[in-house]
């Protein structure tokens, strides 16, 4: 049987403003992940704004993984980041400054 590989869309057409995060995604079965964040519409004031990858031991309490990436600044632009050691939950979190906004499609490709 081939190793498991799936793509989970965890945020679809969500308008992100202020302090925001994707819904918790439990994926402790996976050994590696790539998180993709696509701007579905033209972002507003996302220059120099970075999103971070967060881990959780229980899906409720979150820690900063130390991994972060720049948000897209153009419509249809995709930001991405590999995540190679995690458990048992993943999410993307970002603190957007006043007036900044981005409509996102966040997908996580996971491989066992």
């Amino acid at each position: 049987m081939l190793p498991l590989s799936i793509t989970a869309v965890v945020a679809r057409n969500e308008l992100w403003q202020n302090q925001v995060s994707s819904e918790p995604y439990e994926c402790g079965w996976a050994k590696e992940a790539i998180v993709y964040l696509r701007a579905l519409k033209h972002p507003v004031r996302t220059e120099n704004v970075r999103a971070r990858i967060e881990y959780s031991p229980d899906g409720i309490r979150w820690v900063d993984s130390g991994l972060d990436f720049a948000l897209p600044t153009q419509a249809d632009q995709i930001s991405w980041i590999p995540v190679n050691h995690f458990g048992n939950w993943l999410r993307v979190a970002v603190d957007l400054p006043d007036g900044a906004a981005i409509t996102v499609l966040v997908s996580i490709n996971l491989k066992a």
Binding site: V10, E26, C27
Partner: protein, 285 residues
Amino acid sequence: MHSQTNQIAKLSRFDPMPRIITFDDFDYGFCGWGQLVGNYEQSLDAMNPSYQQHTHPQLSNLSHWDSGSHSSWDGTYALKIQTRPVAGARNVSVKRLTFRKAGPIRLELYFTFKPEATEPRLLETDVRSVGFLFDLQDPDEGGNRVMPHIRFLNAENGEHVQKWQFKRKSPPVTPVGEEGKTITHDHLAPNDWEDLPNGHQKLCYNEIPTKVNWHYLRFDFDLENMRMLEMQCNNRLFDLSQIDSMVMPAMKNLWCMLNMGFFTETDTNKRALYYIDSVCLSGDF
């Protein structure tokens, strides 16, 4: 691993009809279960908001903050369907098939449900409901689209209700986009659920939100007459022969459709977690 002996042992906890259409053990992956995405045309903005909230199911080992991994019925993983933490939120996972014989079919599964354990309290009234649905369509012009829906209403407005319900009133159908090819209808809207006769049932919830017990469910349906037949949950039998499904005229691209769905709703601002250990769909052909 996935040996024949192991498969037979796993199947022995089901009572399938002669033909096993699909046997989904989530220790081996998602087995074709994905998220129910709403219909749209040109832009995702056209999607009904009730579908926008849906997210992808997860493979869960039922880990908890106080006790670690609970794991599944006889392995590590179960399919988890999780709502957002907003009272009334729902989520749906779906598997899309077609049928080759319009005859009796049987759905069996082992399931459980819990709220997210964000408080050190029992939380037995936080999950509003868990349920299942079929989305079916006759093979030929002039037939119908038929949607049997059943849910276990666990709690409503803080009351621990614990009863089975069905839905037969079809929701309004709304066009999507400008091309006249796509429609949407919110068949899982919170209104129009009706009680099954003698449908109260007390399910084992256990004593804290991180202790989990699994339940057996069987649902029999006849694709020839498009009628429900019978349901069993643990020790209880329910005669469904007089219970109607939602029925609407056949749609032009759904012939022989055999979709199955599992859904959950939360009654409070906590995520509802609906776990499915394994599913067996069988048919009499």
